[in-house]
């Protein structure tokens, strides 16, 4: 094929001089070029190879949450996003290599049993002593002196509702709001075992929601079935419920702190309830993956320290309304903007908030729960 210049091609095309074969040839060359292109420029989209890869939730990847790392190394690490831990687990099982992941506590035991985690050397962390002590001893996250989990984020799962649309609940908050037939078709709950099915378990008064007896399981199923016709949908992304609450499509839903903070900021009359049965407390943080690159360990620990720094904590609290692992972040927020913590639903004494909720724990017999939930959703 002759070497064609762009101008020649256009002119030949315009004047009709280009034969069909020539045209096809140039199209083919273009096609081949397009196919090759991503390979050459892939590195342009990611940080350089010296940085560790962090596998995390959307929103926790922002540079504001690792400023000290950015200051020290000039750029952010490589970030990959997952929608939930099950997706992350499936990807890693299929061969995706990452250095750090950011799951929540109830997933740590199964990941550890799958052999993909390695203990974290806490002596290499300068922030380890600043972490809220009660977060370091959550069952399943450590084994003897081996710490498999670095707690950095926590928050609540509770009922978020429009106080102007359901004023009767303002002084009578409970999980039962999500079972109120008065708001049929305007309620929602998370499409998840831990934030959905466990809510039903708490609602029916299971003694240990995370390890239910057969009788409690049957009651939970009945409660979910009763709730199904009242549901608008089961939500999978906070954006769904934030928009729906804003428009009045939903009156009440289970939610995380960030949705409350976002809607409050927009000026909606929403309340983040303290249900009388108890809200759920979740804790998320970092795990060191067993196939991490040992050459990057220094930067891995730098990243963990950066994420656990006071300034990251202040950002997480003020922007997302999430709790942070670093205990000093709370004092800093209280000092900078008095009253804000209370407005976000936190006590100044952090342990008070932590202990008020029901700690999310690994669920016994997860496959049976999932099968049950699928059946209920299918109307059975």
């Amino acid at each position: 094929m002759k070497n064609l210049k762009k101008e020649d091609v256009i002119e030949q095309l315009a004047t009709g001089q280009m034969s069909r074969r020539q045209f096809n040839q140039s199209l083919m060359a273009l096609g081949a070029t397009m196919v090759m292109m991503p390979m050459g420029s892939r590195s342009a989209f990611a940080a350089s190879d010296d940085h560790p890869t962090v596998f995390t939730w959307e929103g926790w990847d922002v540079p504001e949450l690792h400023q000290p790392y950015l200051a020290k190394h000039g750029e952010s690490p490589n970030i990959a996003i997952f929608g939930d831990e099950e997706e992350a687990f499936a990807k890693m099982r299929a061969g995706f290599k990452v250095d750090l992941t950011q799951p929540c506590t109830y997933k740590v035991p199964i990941w550890k049993d799958a052999g993909i985690l390695e203990p974290i050397d806490t002596s290499r962390l300068s922030t380890w002593d600043d972490i809220i002590p009660s977060l370091k001893t959550i069952p399943g996250t450590f084994e003897g002196s081996n710490q498999y989990f670095f707690p950095t984020d926590w928050g609540l799962t509770s009922v978020l509702y429009r106080a102007d649309l359901a004023p009767e609940y303002v002084d009578n908050e409970s999980w039962g709001m999500l079972w109120d037939p008065k708001y049929k078709g305007r309620l929602s709950m998370a499409d998840s075992l831990i934030d959905g099915v466990m809510v039903a378990a708490i609602y029916i008064g299971a003694k240990d929601p995370f390890n239910m007896t057969d009788e409690e399981m049957a009651k939970t199923r009945a409660a979910l079935k009763e709730q199904l016709p009242l549901m608008r949908y089961y939500w999978t992304s906070p954006a769904d419920i934030e928009q729906a609450l804003a428009s009045g499509e939903l009156v009440a839903t289970s939610a995380w702190n960030s949705s409350y903070a976002a809607l409050k900021k927009e000026g909606f009359d929403v309340r983040y309830s303290s249900p009388k049965e108890g809200a759920m407390t979740w804790v998320c943080g970092f795990c060191l993956m067993s196939d991490h690159d040992p050459a990057k360990l220094d930067r891995i620990y730098d990243y963990l320290d950066a994420y656990a720094s006071v300034e990251s904590g202040v950002f997480a609290l003020t922007e997302y309304g999430y709790g942070h692992g670093n205990i000093h972040a709370f004092a800093k927020v209280e000092q900078d903007s008095p009253g804000l913590l209370k407005e976000l639903g936190y006590s100044v004494n952090v342990d008070e908030t932590l202990n008020a909720g029901i700690f999310q724990a690994p669920m016994g017999n997860e496959p049976a729960l999932q099968a049950m939930f699928e059946e209920v959703k299918a109307g059975m």
């Binding site: 939930d84 099950e86 049993d113 549901m231 499509e249 109307g379």
Partner: protein, 303 residues
């Protein structure tokens, strides 16, 4: 050293001679890029899926011994069969709606448009230049609580409260899928209509058939290959769709694809997910066979 070089040269020559002599070999090597893509991209994954469906999941590991348990589970628990039947119903409705809506459009372009047919065809594909996801979200905007339909009806005073039954049910799934797959129905039907010899239509009219009967007895049977292709192109992929039901389906609109996805994700039971996938494939194959047999009989009867 030199002897081995010579012998490797003779071996090379022998291979070359064999290669040139065998027509089949040359044929396969010509085919090889496609063949390799088919083997590694289609046959191997299917084989993996098939094998996986006979294993069992044990917490985080697979039990790699042969077992029928996943298949017996599929039949023992009513949920899978029920959702599969629901998916087939939804896809059937989608196929019907798509073909019924696509046929007049294809007919119009094939018979009524004289100039610039290509422009019309391109215009039909314009909505498909946007992503599939975007089109699904567009329906969310149309049917949503504060969506186009609701606010429209509200502003002309027909309703005072937004209608809630528009979104998050099987009807919304059907509507969205029918729109999303329209181009896949229009184009094959158009091609088969375009190929019809116009003199046959004139002959039918000359022999005294009215316009309607001409359509029923000549145009429709001759365009059946396009209708069949369109039906299959829409039906087969929509049975397993999971994005649309998860976005606009709500609790009542979930389909078998959502169950399979949850088996490979949340429920973490890959073997059962594989078994369900195999069952879906078998069911769809059986349905397509029945459909082809039925249309074959129909064509024989009409023609």
């Amino acid at each position: 050293m030199s002897r081995s070089a010579t012998s490797s040269k003779t071996v090379g020559l022998a291979i070359r001679r064999r290669f040139l002599a065998s027509e089949a070999l040359r044929g396969f090597s010509l085919l090889s890029p496609t063949l390799l893509a088919m083997v590694f991209g289609l046959a191997m994954p299917l084989l993996v899926l098939f094998t996986l469906s006979f294993w069992l999941q044990d917490y985080v590991d697979f039990i790699k011994t042969f077992s029928w348990k996943n298949y017996s589970d599929f039949f023992a628990k009513p949920i899978y069969g029920m959702i599969l039947i629901k998916s087939i119903k939804i896809s059937g409705m989608v196929t019907l709606a798509t073909v019924l809506l696509a046929y007049p459009m294809a007919y119009f372009i094939a018979f009524r448009i004289k100039a610039n047919k290509l422009v019309w065809l391109i215009l039909i594909t314009v909505p498909f230049w946007t992503s599939y996801l975007l089109r699904v979200f567009a329906w969310k905007v149309m049917l949503g609580y504060n969506g186009v339909v609701n606010s429209g009806l509200k502003s002309i005073g027909l309703i005072s409260e937004p209608l809630e039954f528009l979104l998050y049910n099987p009807t919304a799934v059907t509507l969205t899928l029918a729109h999303a797959w329209a181009a896949f129905a229009i184009l094959p039907i158009y091609v088969s209509l375009e190929k019809i010899d116009r003199s046959l239509l004139e002959a039918a009219r000359d022999l005294g058939e009215n316009a309607f009967m001409t359509f029923v007895r000549v145009t429709l049977p001759l365009s059946m290959p396009g209708v069949i292709a369109a039906s299959l192109l829409v039906f087969i992929p929509t049975v397993g769709d999971y994005v649309t039901p998860s976005l606009v389906g709500g609790p009542s609109g979930i389909m078998i694809g959502n169950i399979i996805q949850s088996m490979f994700g949340k429920a973490f039971n890959w073997p059962l997910g594989a078994a369900i996938s195999v069952m879906v494939m078998l069911t769809v194959t059986a349905m397509v066979c029945v459909f082809l047999w039925g249309t074959h009989r129909f064509r024989r009867r009409v023609a």
